[in-house]
Symmetry: C2
Subunit: 426 residues, 2 copies
């Protein structure tokens, strides 16, 4: 006698021990109830047909419930018992709730919009070691947004050229210099040599300016190599490492966090838009950001709103709130309740096509707890990196003292030249 | 004086030292040339504006070239100098060619269709330790496809129940038993205990049947934990491990391969369809499969054609050829030339909604060098797992002896019962 299960229960009240997922769901030639049921079973205990090996104990203790269906908006919510997941194992959790389901013939489109993690799962992860408070303590920057650059060109400079560009940016007034997401250890620019050269000039810039300066070397690699590189950074006086969390993967991010090297982890999201961009399918950037915070990214790229990449104002703002606050209240659809318990806040990084003329609207939307990273918006200054950095610093000064860029640029020529090239975003 | 670069050169002849990418590209309100140029620069050395730090040496040695544009099919091809990439570092390579580009406002849709890796990059990876030949040597199965099951329900059975289902499948005639992609170490089913119980019954089944039987325990986790689990498998007489390569990530797969534990690596692709499914955006499964082979997956899920998941006949067949052959010849669009040099072939795994009635068309399309995995198609047999396994074995016997399932089932009752439930796919 094969046991038949029903995965839909609209009267079900989610428990505090449930993990909740919200999905956008377009069925493929079947009812939304049938498709929702398929999503629920394939992401938990079921398969495409009823099976002889299912038993009542499994059904009673582990069957998830689709408890919300909005046919007009095509939104469903599923409550999963926490025991369906291995605590502290993000790949396992995602192989359930963001695994096979995207490929089922039963659905036309499916998007994981948000995940609400229960206490037991939140507490099974470490979260950021430093978080916003730790970053402000290290940098001694109390209130204002942090400003930084990415060394450009993305690839091609040798170690000394790289360090020199970083130096120019620091003495121009930027707090942070970051490697590009595709710069690791190259034939023309060796990782170890670059770290030594760049930290040497970082110390010089710190001495000359009297300020703390940050360098974020990109340790993205196979995990043993990654840890070796991170230890090299630590040994040579570095305070930060960066990693491409999606091309390296979640296991690698957790390995870096668990290594507990006392280095701030900067998370770059290269590749996310392969699955976050389509509004109807894939995984939302919000879900990705929550996962990155849970595992332990101290800083995370979430979008620039006014830059070269997609990502609407509301989307980026919501992500920022989710990674920076302690309690998230449910907000219509696409934002589930989330208590973060022991997990520190991750600092939002806004980057991608930013220039000084975009600072006022970005700070207005996102507030002061952000890091703004400028690539072309710094080195694209007609007079080069140092003046580009000065212009960015001036634009931030204008915003913090509530002056308009236009007025401020009348007495600040570096800013004037930058705005003449890049314009002002209203 | 800022250096201006041109990334389009339709007369450029790719060199053997180039990595070639084919993209499907829909521009966003600009010309395809302009959008292609944006893709080329963002995936290599450029950014959204011209920069003062670019120099002639970098441009001359590293600038990629868009050398093919098909406006009607919306296909472009880009040749990247091999020095743009760190050898042996797949996350770095992907952060270039499958990174920021998907999120650019300059494109509406962008899909990485195929990647042709040059010799230097191919040879910087280990590839499969065993490959098809190694797998056939271990299993002593010379010619026919391998058949296996996934223990179902996906989650919920305890260690002993799990081992018993595996045992039933083995004595019924299946070669392989695999953990499900979301079964790792759970509150109700501990990894170590499961491995011990299941390998114990594997040895019993081997003794009773006189055949080699395979168990593939799922070691997906943070990488140190993953390696610990893999070593536990090895210590207790296991020959295989499986990993969810996309939710764990590329760094983790490489760490597992580099650990060189003399275990066959079975790669599950849970989550791939979040970015492979949309035909216009994301990354093709073909590209993913080539990457998995390069790093070192001995076996890889590529689709079932006749099952519950999407994936057309041509697509799955092309992927199969790409991971199993030594030289791939360019074929119209979507399949670039590839020489695999020292890299062994990866065995294709067909899985997802398979049942005995699907075996004839699948083997006809894919040939004998495949592993067919049956979940519901085994345990969904009305008389349970063992008879389900017998039915699968009988269906394969029919195919190998060129008999029709319908005729063969007249004298094989387990197959008859299975076909009556699942039907026959023509």
């Amino acid at each position: 006698m094969i046991l038949l299960l029903n995965y839909i229960d609209l009267k079900y009240k989610p428990s505090k021990k449930d993990l909740i997922c919200e999905f956008y769901l377009e069925p493929n030639k079947i009812s939304i109830e049938k498709a929702a049921s398929n999503v629920a079973l394939e992401s938990s205990i079921g398969t495409w047909t009823d099976i002889a090996t299912m038993n009542k104990r499994v059904a009673r203790t582990l069957k998830p419930n689709v408890f919300y269906i909005n046919k007009r908006k095509k939104i469903i919510k599923i409550a999963y018992n926490e025991n369906l997941f291995e605590k502290g194992n993000m790949p396992e959790i995602l192989s359930s709730i963001a695994g096979n389901i995207f490929g089922m013939s039963a659905i036309k489109n499916l998007r994981l919009m948000d995940i609400s993690f229960p206490e037991s799962i939140v507490k099974s992860f470490k979260g950021p070691k430093f978080g916003i408070e730790g970053i402000r303590k290290i940098t001694k920057i109390k209130k204002r947004p942090l400003i930084g650059t990415i060394v450009k060109p993305k690839l091609g400079l040798n170690e000394k050229e790289h360090a020199k560009v970083a130096y120019d940016a620091w003495v121009g007034g930027l707090d942070i210099v970051k490697d590009d997401e595709n710069l690791t250890s190259m034939s023309f620019n060796n990782f170890n040599k670059r770290v030594i050269e760049t930290i040497k000039l970082r110390k010089k810039a710190e001495k000359e300016t009297g300020k703390i300066k940050i360098y974020m070397p990109n340790v993205t690699a196979e995990t043993n190599e990654m840890i070796k590189r991170a230890k090299f950074v630590k040994k040579h006086g570095g305070r930060y490492v960066m990693i491409d969390i999606l091309t390296a993967g979640w296991s690698a991010l957790q390995t870096l966090r668990n290594a507990n090297l006392n280095l701030v982890i900067h998370a770059h999201r290269a590749g996310h838009a392969a699955f976050t961009r389509n509004e109807k399918h894939g995984i939302s950037m919000l879900a990705i950001a929550k996962i990155a915070r849970l595992i332990g990214a101290d800083q995370l790229h979430i979008g620039a709103i006014v830059g070269k990449m997609t990502g609407t104002k509301h989307e980026v703002k919501d992500i920022g709130e989710n990674i920076e606050n302690s309690i998230i209240h449910e907000k219509g659809t696409h934002m589930l309740e989330q208590k973060w318990y022991n997990i520190k806040p991750t600092m939002a990084v806004c980057s991608g096509g930013l220039h000084p003329g975009g600072i006022p609207p970005l700070v207005k939307i996102m507030g002061n707890n952000i890091i703004m990273q400028f690539g072309g918006g710094c080195h694209g200054h007609p007079n080069g990196t140092k003046e580009g950095a000065i212009a960015i610093k001036q634009a931030l000064e204008a915003v913090m003292s509530k002056k308009s860029l236009k007025n401020y640029s009348k007495t600040h020529k570096e800013l004037k030249i930058a705005l003449d090239k890049f314009g002002i975003i209203q």
